[in-house]
Structures are given as C-alpha cells and as structure tokens.
C-alpha cells in the first residue's frame, strides 16, 4: 500500500524532484558551483555588474559634491525617482521573507528549492534600497540623526513621523533577514567544509559553520531556531511594506491617502519580489545547469503565485478607482481621472495630465501581462515566463512612479502645478544600484550554496519516516506514470 503522502497522479500531483534523485545528486549539484571554476556565463554577468557598481559610486560622489539638485526632483515633485527606487527595491526583498517564513509555516515544501536564493536577494535588495533615502536627506553625513541616540545637541527623531518608523522597520527587517539567512545556511556551510580540499577553504567554511556536526541534538536546536525565526519574520513581511505605505497614506494627498495602501503595498511587494526571483532563477538555472533541482513544477507554482498576487494588486487598483469616483471628492477624482487615467477632467488648456502614459504602462505590465499565467502552456514555457516577469518588474517600478509623481505634480492648486523630467543622474544611479545588487548576488552564487541542500533533501521520498514501507513500488510507479519533466 502506498503511503498517504505519495502523490496522487490522477489529481495531477507529482513529486517535486524527478524520480530517482538521490541525496548525493543534490549535494553535488549545489556544491560544485562553489568548487569548480566559474563558467563563462558567470564572468559575462559579473564584469558588467562591477562596471555598473562603479557607475553607482561615481554618481554618488557626483551627487554629494553637487547636491541633490542634480536629480529631477523639484517643487512640487519633491519625491520622484529616489523614493520610487527605494520602494521598488524594498518590495523586491519581500519574496525572500515570504518564501522563507510564511510558506514555511504553511508547509509548502516546494519553497526549499528557491528560499536560499530569495533570502539572499532580500538582503541585497534592502541594501540597494537604503541608498536612496540616505541620499535623499540631502546631507547624508547627518543621517545618524535618524538613530535614537541621546546626544548633546538635543536632536531627537520625530517619532510621530512615518518616515521615522520606516527607519526602524527597514533596519529590523535587514537584521532579521540576515540572521535568518545565516542560521539556515549553517548545515550547508558544514557540508562545504566537509567537502573542502584546501586547508584555507576548510578553515573559512569551518569557522562559518560554527562547529556544526549534524548530530541529532544540533538538528533539534536548528529546527527550533528556524521555526522561531520564521515566526518572527512573518509579521515583518506585512509590517515593512505597510510602514512604507504609511509614508504616503498618512498624508492628505489625493492618490496617497487611501486606506487600502498597507495590504496593497504588501501584495505588490510580494508580486514584484517573486518576479525578480524568477527572472534571476531562470538565468542562474541555465548558467549552472540546475534543471533537476528547480523543476518546471517549481516554476509553475511561482507563476501561479504571481497570478494570484497580480490579481490582488489589480483589486487594489480597482478599489482606488472605484472609491475616487464613489467618494464624490473632486480632488480624488482629479488625480485618478486627470493625472492617471487621462479620461475626463481636462485642465485649462483642455489636456489630460501629461504623465497619463505611466499609468497605462503600470496596468498593462502588472494586471494584464500576468493574466497569461492562466494558461498552463505559458506557466511552463521558459521564454514566456521570462518575458512576463520582466514586464512585472517594469510595471511595479511604474506603480511606485505613478503613485509618487502623478499625485504630487498636479494637486489641489493649479497655481502650484509643475512637471517632472528625470535627469541622467536619476537614471544612472538607478542603473548603478543594479550593479551593487548583481555584484553581491553573483559573489553569493559562487561562494555560498545557492540552494538549501539540507531542506531540499527533506522533500525527497526517502526522507519520509514511512518511506521504507513503500519505497521501491512507489518509485517504480512514479517513474512509469511521470517521466522526468522534459525541457
């Protein structure tokens, strides 16, 4: 008799990994990336990334010497690309926390092939994000004022400001994400240590593995710690982007002040985070031949997740629009119909808001493009999903741009209207943060196990306590019914 946990083929269930995958296959596939010479593809990505990182540093130096006037920000568009980029990068990080914490609590085993990867992205994305508000203060050398340090000057942070809450939220998020990521890494670092051929490698990985020997007691502590971190991280998934949304929603700006912002921002963050995880996963999977560990089944599930979160974001857009109309509030209607939709509500010259196109870019990328994921053919087609995830990344950037700039630049008083045009520093600095992100990310891939070896092993049928009851029969049956997914 097959055990109850065996896949029910009639329901379209199947094992996560191709039948016949052994523990050793997983260890080999993951560890060899850090042990062999980097493939050409890695260098082809790494060198341009370092170049972009250089661009970022140059932009920052230029900005510090000239002042933030080199950005396109103006009156009334006080916030523009800087805050757009900040929110976008913070959002990217959310997939990592969601996958490692919430999907763990929901016992979604398929997360094991992508969680390590996504957690690393969280850490790097938060670093990229932090650059923008730090520079946007105008005098970054005074940024330490943001910390609640008792000081002689008697300057205290304004705890009533959501911008201040943001500082705490993001710092907590970064701290917990780093610790959680590292705790999860310990058993895998020990695996690398044990496979090391050179003494230097052994020493370094040995130190990082904190003396892990894989004893029963170690595992017990580890599992407990992992559970506790998952529980601590879960509220963080919600809190960080909710507080980012408060930066806008506590104001009285039409287009900013709306009560659905907190859950809407969280859904959008998870949506964009999944998209970037998938974009990168597809590249890495093909460069390092990870097809047997990240299967089409994983990709299919991630695409479903994006479809779901994309629809939630669409729901939020719809609610904002509906209520802008339903409220009867002329300023709300103005922002949504004139500044964004470009429908009705003409200005004195009989025109729509000049940035209306950014709203259409947002809706087509975020709401329309993911609808293709209703089709299984699209969900399992690598080129299709690659293109759609890039659309989502672009769309989510536009979402923040639409919220920030199209609310600010034409608001209550026509006399104080303005426009917005990005400068080359805006563009180059944003491009440069990709350099920072990819440099860190590519180094991570080369030196750290990019897939959680121990966790993936636990999803194999041999890892189940009752496996011996049915192992050969089941493997055989699975093998007959489901050939390994071909690509």
């Amino acid at each position: 008799m097959a055990s109850a946990s065996a896949p029910i083929h009639e329901l379209g269930e199947r094992g996560l990994l191709p039948p016949g995958t052994t523990f050793n296959d997983i260890t080999e596939a993951v560890c060899r990336v850090t042990e062999e010479k980097a493939p050409r593809g890695w260098w082809m990505l790494f060198l341009p990334s370092v170049g972009l990182l250089g661009l970022m540093v140059s932009c920052i130096v230029y900005l510090l010497s000239m002042g933030i006037g080199v950005w396109g920000n103006n009156t009334p568009a006080y916030w523009a690309w800087d805050i757009t980029n900040f929110v976008w990068w913070i959002g990217i990080g959310h997939a990592g926390t969601l996958i490692s914490a919430i999907l763990f609590l929901f016992r979604q085993n398929w997360r094991t092939s992508i969680n390590r990867f996504a957690e690393a992205m969280t850490v790097f994305a938060v670093l990229c994000a932090a650059i923008f508000p730090a520079l946007h203060t105008g005098r970054p050398w005074f940024d330490y004022y943001l910390a609640p340090l008792p000081n002689q000057m008697g300057i205290w942070p304004n705890f009533k400001s959501p911008l201040m809450w943001d500082v705490f939220a993001v710092n907590t998020y970064l701290t917990i994400s780093v610790i959680f990521w590292y705790v999860g890494l310990i058993p895998d670092l020990a695996t690398l240590r044990d496979r090391s051929k050179s003494l230097r490698r052994k020493r370094i990985y040995g130190a990082l593995a904190l003396g892990w020997r894989g004893s029963h007691r170690h595992w017990q502590h580890y599992e407990r710690a992992y559970l506790i971190f998952a529980a601590i991280s879960t509220p963080l998934v919600l809190s960080v982007h909710s507080i980012v949304s408060f930066d806008f929603a506590t104001s009285v700006m039409p287009g900013w002040h709306t009560t659905i912002f907190p859950p809407y921002f969280v859904a959008g963050a998870v949506f964009s985070g999944f998209a970037l995880v998938l974009t990168l996963m597809l590249i890495v999977r093909s460069v390092f031949k990870m097809h047997s560990l990240v299967t089409l089944k994983h990709l299919d599930l991630m695409n479903k997740f994006m479809l779901g979160t994309g629809i939630m974001v669409g729901y939020a857009y719809a609610m904002e629009f509906f209520v802008a109309w339903y409220s009867g509030n002329p300023y709300e209607s103005w922002v949504f119909f004139h500044n964004r939709l470009g429908f009705g509500y003409l200005d004195q010259e009989g025109n729509w808001g000049p940035l209306w196109w950014s709203y259409y870019a947002m809706v087509s990328c975020n709401v329309i493009a993911p609808q293709l994921f209703w089709f299984k053919k699209v969900r399992t087609s690598i080129p299709a999903m690659f293109i759609i995830t890039i659309f989502i990344n672009i769309g989510m950037w536009f979402e923040r741009f639409v919220i920030i700039v199209t609310s600010l630049y034409r608001d209550f008083l026509p006399g104080s209207w303005g426009g917005f045009e990005a400068t080359w520093v805006d563009i180059a600095l944003y491009a440069g943060t990709f350099g920072l992100f990819f440099t860190l990310f590519l180094l991570f891939i080369r030196w750290v196990p990019m897939i959680a070896i121990a966790e993936v092993k636990a999803t194999l049928p041999h890892a189940h306590p009752h496996h011996s009851d049915d192992d050969h029969a089941d493997d055989h049956a699975a093998g007959l019914a489901e050939p390994a997914p071909a690509e």
């Binding site: 109850a4 029910i8 329901l11 729901y315 609610m319 339903y326 409220s327 009867g328 002329p330």
Partner: protein, 476 residues
C-alpha cells in the same frame, strides 16, 4: 490512492453503513432544535419590541443580524475555495463544516427579503439619506429659504450659501464635511448649517450613480445569485463525491476555484459597500471590503473549531478529527485574528492620522455616545487578550481551552458586526429587539446548518486526500 484504501478509514467509525454521520438519536442528530427554539424566541422579541415597537430600530437590528450570518457564508465560501486553491490536505477532514455553512447562502437570500421589503416600503430608514435623495430634491429647494430665516445667527454661512451650484458641486465634498466635523465636535448631535445641508445634498447627488434604489436592489440579487451558485456547486459536488468517490470531482472543484475566488472577492467587497459602508453615505474607505473579509474569516474559523471540538468530544467522527486538526485550525484562527487587527488598525490609523473630516466622521460616531466603550472592548477582546491566549501552543492543543478561545472570538466577531452597523442608529443602547433580530436570523440560519450537519457525513469521505488528512500530524 484508490477506493480500497478508503475502507479502513471508514471501518474506524464502524457503527453504521454511513460513515462519519451523526448516529440517530445522538446530540448532533437533533442539535438543530436548539437554534430553532432560539429563532422562535427571536421572532417573539422582534414582534413585540420591533414590529409593535420601534420599527426604525428593528431595521438596524435586522441588518446587523443579516450581516452577521452573511459573514459566516463569506467565511465558509472562503475556506472551501481556499482549500481547493491550495490542494491542502490537513483541512480535508474539517472541510464539510464550512461547506455546510456556505450552503446556507440561498437561505440568507430568503432571510434578506424582510430587509429589502422594509427598505423599499420605507419602514426601514437606515438608507433613507441616499435612497430618497431624488425625491427630496423639490422639498430641499423650498426648504432652503426657511433655513435662511430660521438660522439667522449663522448669517455668514447663509451668505456663502448663495454660491453658485457649480462651485458647490466642485468643492462640495470637502467643504461640506469640514462643516460637519466642526458641528460634531461641539456636541454629538450635529446642528447642520444650511450651507452644510446644501453641500451634503450635492455630494449625495453626485453619488446617486451608485447609491440609487434600483441599482442597489439589482446588485443584491446578483450577489445572492453568485453566492448561491458557488456554495451549492462546492457543496453538491463534494456530496456527490461522498457517494461516487470520483477523483475527477476534485479536479473539477480545483479547476473552478480561482474564478470562484475572484467572483467571491468582488461580490463580498461590493456587498460590504452597498449594505454597510452606505449607512454613512458620504464616508468611504478602500480597505473596507478587506476588513469585512478578515472578520468573516475569524467568524468561520471560530465556528469550525467549535463544531470540530464538539464532534471530537462526542465521539461522532472517530479519529477523523483530532487534536492535530484543532491545533491547525487554532493557528489559522490566530493568524486571521491578527489579520483582522492589521486591517482594522490600518483603516483607523490612516483616517485618524490624516484627520480629514469626511472620513473621520465614521470613527467619530464610534467614539461617542457610549460607543467608546464598545470600541475599546473590541481592541482588547478581539485582539489583545486572545492574542496572548491563542499564541500558546499549549492552549491550541487542549480541546477545552481552545473551545473557550473559539467561543470568545465568535462572540467578539458578532460584537464587531454590531459595531459596524449600530452606531449609525445612535448612542450605544442595546435593546431587546437587537437580540430578537439576532436570535431570529441567526437561529434560523444555524438551525439549517445544524440540521444539515446532522444528516450528511461530517467528513468528505470521498475526497482522495482524506487519508493524508487523517494521517496528519504536526511538524511544528
């Protein structure tokens, strides 16, 4: 998994040919009589204190009762659809409970008839402000002059009142409510200036594209149609699978789950707008649908937990439901309780922080006239206290303690719905008719639910993932 493997599970309950069904003469076979008696008592109270007493109050009380049972239908649909969306296994054994609750959707439609009859006949006045906005047009124009004379001290405002209609409509919303807010700050019962009246009226007229009697009724019919189709589809398909054990039925339910979720989410939102948000017709909040959804999830999870524990304690379902399932239900209940707090807090905090009068008025009404007490009870009782209680693993794994937690949250959920509806009537003054309406509507609703639970298998015995649900044990 094939049919053969189902047999050992069926044998466990062993007593009857129909596995997992409440045995004849047992508590669960006749449990429906309890809510039925309550419904009778409710009817009596409604007649004495409502129909023969305060009919206007009865309107609010009946709406409160109807929204309460409706949130259980929402919750039931949500749990069932979510389970098919995620193809989860631990919830299989308890899925029949939300299925049965949701299947009461057409009954709620019938229970809604008195409400609609009352509103359209003019006996129930809670929507009058916008329902009759067109009818009052003529009266209003005439009335303006009188106002001018009557409130001569407020000559300044009266002068401004001469402002052209165009201006009134452009700045209507904000100016009107700035006035409204000031007036209310002075004393609870607002004394409206003529200017306020004019602008308020202009705002309502602007909204008459949505808040209009015909559209409101047609939409309601549509919502009930959708809920009935969804609920009966999942209930009947699942019941059919009990008999046929057909695996394909699971695929069929799964296939329709995503579209069902979208239809459910949209109808829930707009129903919440139509029936609850519109009680304060100039108020709006984009998160409102999500808040109602969060409360509904708390309600159904508390109810499912209560029924599951009772079934276990009375030994009706053998080992099909056990402490592992209760533990998981408890975790979800805890999670959604936090989600309720998160959405409710977001709504309150953003409105409080911005302090725009047209939005703040809604919370103002819930902080005056005794409602402050109720608001604080909800903060503590619907979140703070149960947070510390339910966070404990020990509590979630002790059936009697979990039972107390679930009953507590179920009560709080009903108090929460009361808080959405009743402050619109006036100061906090619980009346027998409130209980009467709740007993009548709730009693009828649960009499049906309990009657159904007494006759169908309490576990979806045909579900192919049932064995996994039976084997379920906690990994953490």
């Amino acid at each position: 998994m094939s049919k053969d493997e189902k047999k050992p599970a069926e044998k466990k309950s062993g007593k009857k040919a129909q596995p997992y069904t409440a045995p004849e003469g047992s508590f669960w076979a006749k449990a429906w009589t309890l809510p039925a008696v309550l419904a009778g008592l409710g009817l009596l109270l409604v007649i004495v204190f409502g129909v023969m007493g305060n009919v206007e109050r009865l309107g609010y009380a009946y709406l409160f009762a109807l929204i309460t049972v409706l949130t259980f239908v929402f919750g039931g649909l949500f749990l069932v659809i979510a389970e098919h969306l995620t193809a989860g296994h631990w919830g299989v054994t308890t899925r029949r409970i939300p299925e049965v609750v949701a299947s009461a959707a057409p009954l709620v439609g019938v229970l809604a008839i008195p409400l609609f009859a009352g509103v359209y006949s003019g006996s129930f006045t809670m929507y009058d402000e916008w329902m009759h906005v067109h009818h009052h047009d003529a009266e209003h124009e005439e009335g303006e002059g009188e106002h001018d004379e009557g409130d001569s001290e407020e000559g300044d405002e009266a002068a401004e009142d001469e402002a052209s209609d165009e201006e009134a409509s452009l700045f209507g919303a904000s100016v009107a409510h700035a006035q409204h807010g000031d007036a209310e700050a002075e004393e609870h019962v607002a004394h409206h200036t003529p200017q306020y009246e004019a602008l308020h009226h202009a705002t309502l007229q602007k909204k008459s594209g949505y808040l209009a009697p015909t559209g409101w009724g047609v939409r309601a019919l549509f919502y009930f149609l959708i809920w009935t189709v969804l609920a009966l589809f999942y209930f009947r398909t699942s019941r059919k699978q009990d008999e046929t054990k057909d695996l394909q039925l699971t695929n069929k339910m799964k296939k329709w789950a995503p579209l069902s979720a979208i239809a459910f989410g949209l109808t829930l939102t707009f129903a919440a707008f139509d029936w609850v948000m519109s009680l304060e017709p100039t108020w709006y909040s984009t998160i409102f649908g999500v808040v109602i959804f969060a409360g509904s999830a708390v309600g159904i999870l508390a109810f499912t937990t209560i029924i599951a524990i009772s079934l276990i304690q009375r030994g009706v379902v053998g080992k099909a439901m056990n402490v592992e399932h209760v533990h998981d239900l408890g975790k979800l209940l805890f999670g959604f309780m936090c989600f309720w707090a998160y959405t409710s807090f977001s709504q309150w905090m953003l409105i409080w922080y911005a302090g725009i009068p047209e939005e703040a008025v809604w919370f103002h009404k819930r902080w005056e006239g005794g409602w402050q007490f109720w608001s604080i009870v909800l903060m503590l009782g619907h979140f703070a206290l149960p947070f510390y209680y339910l966070i404990s693993r020990m509590v979630k794994r002790r059936l009697p303690m979990m039972m107390i937690g679930a009953i507590w949250l179920l009560t709080m959920h009903i108090a929460d719905v009361y808080w959405y509806v009743m402050p619109q009537f006036g100061p906090l003054t619980p009346r027998p008719v409130d209980f009467g309406a709740l007993f009548l509507v709730g009693g009828t609703f649960f009499a049906y639910v309990f009657w159904q639970l007494g006759r169908v298998p309490l576990v979806p015995v045909g579900d192919p993932r049932l064995q996994r649900g039976l084997d379920h044990h906690q990994s953490h």
